[in-house]
């Protein structure tokens, strides 16, 4: 008998794995990521802004000299980001000078101009004019530089030494060295990256359960609507057929995950030197991934919970597929399942922040929530097992077996029923059929 299940598994797997859609989807997704980040990098390189020239009217006549030396940022090609030119007010006529500068801005001879009023230390307002005032980063830099000059002046007016004050404030900055208390003592670990990893993996799990679960349903509906089922169940029991489907499509999902994983691994490993070789300084994306603390136990737990969650949800999807005749009819039954999945994702989100609360404990005991919630809790508590872990895993396994058994009963009757789709009540009656 097991050889026949193998025939079902193989068919379910290969008939999908060989489709263009699957191959493209599997390879394109990681390449898509590479393209996005590569693209951002290239766009930054190609569309580098040139040096921006600002003319500064300094009515205080002391600020310009201090200000113009602060912003020494350079562009990626080594040229300075800012260039300042002091503009003297001609004949005491500020308006005429500004008009002259406006013409220069319009003619794109300069990027913009700044007017520092004589009472700036009190008013703390500086006029900024340019054709575009939407570059917040740039405005931020200018604001920061002026603020530094003005605050220094104000400190000195009180007879304080600005440099030493700034130094002392800087020295007062404290860093939190986070470490996690575990069975094996304390482990240094960055909070942010372990959360990030958990969220990403849980999200992948959630997506896979939703997409591949629906695939199970479509597969059942196809066999029903194409009238293939009866031929198959004359050779193999409906229950075995259902199991074969679930295993085959689960294997397909794992295959896709592994391909994603390997590609990501190689991108990180070999991508970095290439990007550096191209002259990149900001590693952004790769840096984030490299900081992720990905251990073998987490990987194994991920696989385990993915498989359990997948089997649990796909048995529901299989039962739905057996009850309906068309995909449209199947869609009507989907929202409760999807909502259940989404709720479990949100619960996971909440529990991961506080993995040791009673709420987290009870939430992970709900079998539909266990795969995502328990995985999240285990991942952030790694390498310690959080409270109730074993209890919730056993509850989930027991419940999953029960669901497969129930789904098998509905499936067995449903796949040979054509015509009107049954109500939930009728479907429950099927469970008691001999």
């Amino acid at each position: 008998m097991s050889r026949k299940i193998l025939a079902i598994i193989k068919r379910e797997f290969w008939s999908r794995a060989k489709t263009k859609g699957f191959i493209i989807g599997t390879l394109i997704f990681p390449l898509f990521l590479v393209l996005i980040f590569g693209g951002i990098f290239i766009v930054q390189k190609v569309f580098q802004p040139s040096t921006r020239v600002y003319h500064v009217i300094d009515q205080t006549e002391i600020i310009y000299d201090k200000f113009s030396v602060i912003l020494t940022d350079t562009l990626k090609n080594g040229k300075p980001k800012f260039q300042f030119v002091e503009e003297k007010v001609e004949d005491g006529n500020l308006d005429a000078t500004m008009e002259k500068l406006q013409v220069k801005v319009r003619d794109e001879q300069i990027y913009g101009y700044l007017v520092v009023p004589s009472d700036v230390v009190e008013s703390r307002e500086i006029k900024y004019s340019a054709t575009s005032v939407s570059d917040f980063e740039e405005q931020g830099a200018l604001r920061w530089a002026f603020s530094k000059v003005i605050s220094d002046m104000r400190l000195e007016r009180k007879g304080l030494n600005a440099d030493s004050i700034r130094h002392e404030i800087g020295m007062g900055n404290v860093k939190l060295v986070s470490s996690q208390v575990t069975d094996k003592g304390e482990i240094e670990k960055s909070g942010a990256s372990s959360f990030l990893l958990t969220y990403i993996l849980a999200y992948v799990m959630f997506l896979m359960m939703m997409i591949y679960g629906a695939m199970i349903m479509r597969s059942v509906i196809e066999e029903k609507s194409q009238r293939i089922t009866e031929m198959i169940v004359s050779a193999i029991s409906p229950f075995e057929l259902m199991l074969g489907k679930i295993i085959g499509i689960c294997a397909l999902g794992i295959t896709q995950l592994l391909v994603f994983g390997f590609m990501l691994f190689f991108i990180v490993k070999y991508g970095e030197p290439i990007v550096v070789g191209l002259g990149a300084t900001d590693m952004g994306f790769i840096e984030i991934i490299k900081n992720i603390h990905f251990t073998l136990p987490i990987f194994l737990f991920f696989l385990f919970f993915f498989i359990m969650g997948f089997v649990l949800f796909s048995s529901i999807y299989a039962a739905i597929g057996a009850m309906v005749n068309t995909e449209d009819e199947g869609q009507q039954f989907m929202p409760p399942v999807i909502i259940l999945l989404m709720v479990s994702y949100f619960v996971m989100f909440a529990t991961v922040k506080n993995p040791a609360t009673p709420m987290a404990f009870w939430a992970s005991l709900v079998p539909f929530f266990t795969p995502l919630v328990m995985f999240g809790r285990i991942a952030v508590s790694d390498p310690t097992m959080p409270s109730g872990a074993y209890l919730s895993i056993f509850t989930m396994i027991f419940f999953t077996i029960l669901m497969i058994w129930l789904a098998g009963k509905i499936y067995r009757v449903g796949i040979l029923m054509y015509g009107k789709k049954p109500s939930i009540k009728e479907a429950i009656k099927w469970i008691r059929y001999k």
């Binding site: 194409q226 009238r227 293939i228 009866e230 031929m231 198959i232 004359s234 050779a235 040979l416």
Partner: protein, 305 residues
């Protein structure tokens, strides 16, 4: 040896009794027809034989084994509701079907080429099912059920939805399979097929057995009560002769069914008295006639499914 034995099976769906106390058995190497109008219980009976649904009571034993067991791999089954994976290639589909019958891949490949050759579809081996015409698909479906050289072949309405050419082709394939020693049981509501193919028939109507036995014996038991007369002239005799139960008048020929133990010679004399008789033939009843007589004319409406 009895290839198949069905004993007192019953099946109800809710209040509706689909199969009521049906029993029959089939000898090895025979073609057995399960006949009956639409909705008589043929498909339900076959599904119980195939162990797809369980009988409420009664037993089925295939190849001497109750409820199949390992015998399942020696049976081929073509359901009434049949189809294939549209996106699969012909070759893949057939290989999949043989693997469900525990056939070795090497043997399966040989059998596939052999049978595809017989139905002239070798060129289509690597085409997707959806590219095939309906007739081709039906041939492939039939081949899929016999590749593993089953001892028992069960066909539910094998001629349903086929044009006359393809009906003939399936009929030839059935005879070829029979030659290899395979026992065949098939259901139909079209009596012409059954008449040509069957050694034995089982007629089922309204869930119950109506007729069961060897085709020849059944025909004999129905006696020689059918007369074909070709004539020219007055057809008054058809109304007047007391030996006639009913008749079908086509103008210059008429099919007459005599009353039980009717005197055909008296009919001939009366016909000759009023018309010129060019032909007078006493016929064996056709299965069609037997069917209509036993099942009743109100059931005939079903027609071709």
């Amino acid at each position: 040896m009895k290839i198949l034995e069905v004993s007192n099976i019953n099946k109800s769906f809710g209040d509706f009794q689909a199969v009521n106390d049906i029993s029959f058995s089939i000898e090895e190497g025979k073609i057995f027809g399960l006949l009956g109008p639409n909705g008589a219980g043929k498909t339900t009976t076959i599904r119980m034989i195939m162990n797809i649904i369980a009988p409420d009571s009664g037993t089925v034993s295939v190849l001497g084994k109750p409820n199949f067991g390992t015998a399942i791999d020696n049976v081929g089954y073509l359901p009434e509701e049949r189809g294939m994976y549209r996106k699969m290639k012909v070759n893949e589909m057939l290989l999949f079907q043989t693997s469900l019958k525990s056939m070795k891949k090497k043997d399966a490949k040989v059998a596939i080429d052999n049978w595809l050759g017989k139905v002239d579809l070798l060129d289509w081996k690597n085409k997707k099912i959806e590219e095939l015409s309906k007739g081709m698909q039906q041939k492939i479906q039939f081949i899929g059920t016999i590749l593993h050289n089953p001892k028992l072949l069960i066909l539910d309405e094998p001629f349903g939805g086929l044009d006359p050419i393809n009906q003939n082709l399936i009929k030839d394939l059935m005879l070829e399979v029979k030659k290899n020693g395979t026992t065949i049981i098939f259901s139909t509501h079209v009596m012409e097929h059954a008449e040509k193919l069957c050694d034995e028939i089982f007629l089922i109507n309204k869930s119950k057995e109506v007729l069961y036995g060897k085709l020849e014996e059944i025909k004999k038991s129905f006696g020689r009560e059918n007369v074909l007369i070709e004539f020219d002239g007055n057809d008054e005799f058809l109304k007047n002769c007391d030996q006639i139960k009913k008749f079908n008048n086509y103008g210059n020929s008429v099919e007459v069914q005599l009353i039980k133990d009717g005197d055909s010679q008296k009919l001939l004399r009366e016909a000759m008295a009023s018309a010129f008789v060019s032909k007078f033939e006493i016929k064996e009843p056709s299965l069609h006639d037997i069917f209509i007589e036993t099942v009743g004319e109100d059931n005939e409406e079903g027609g071709e499914a």
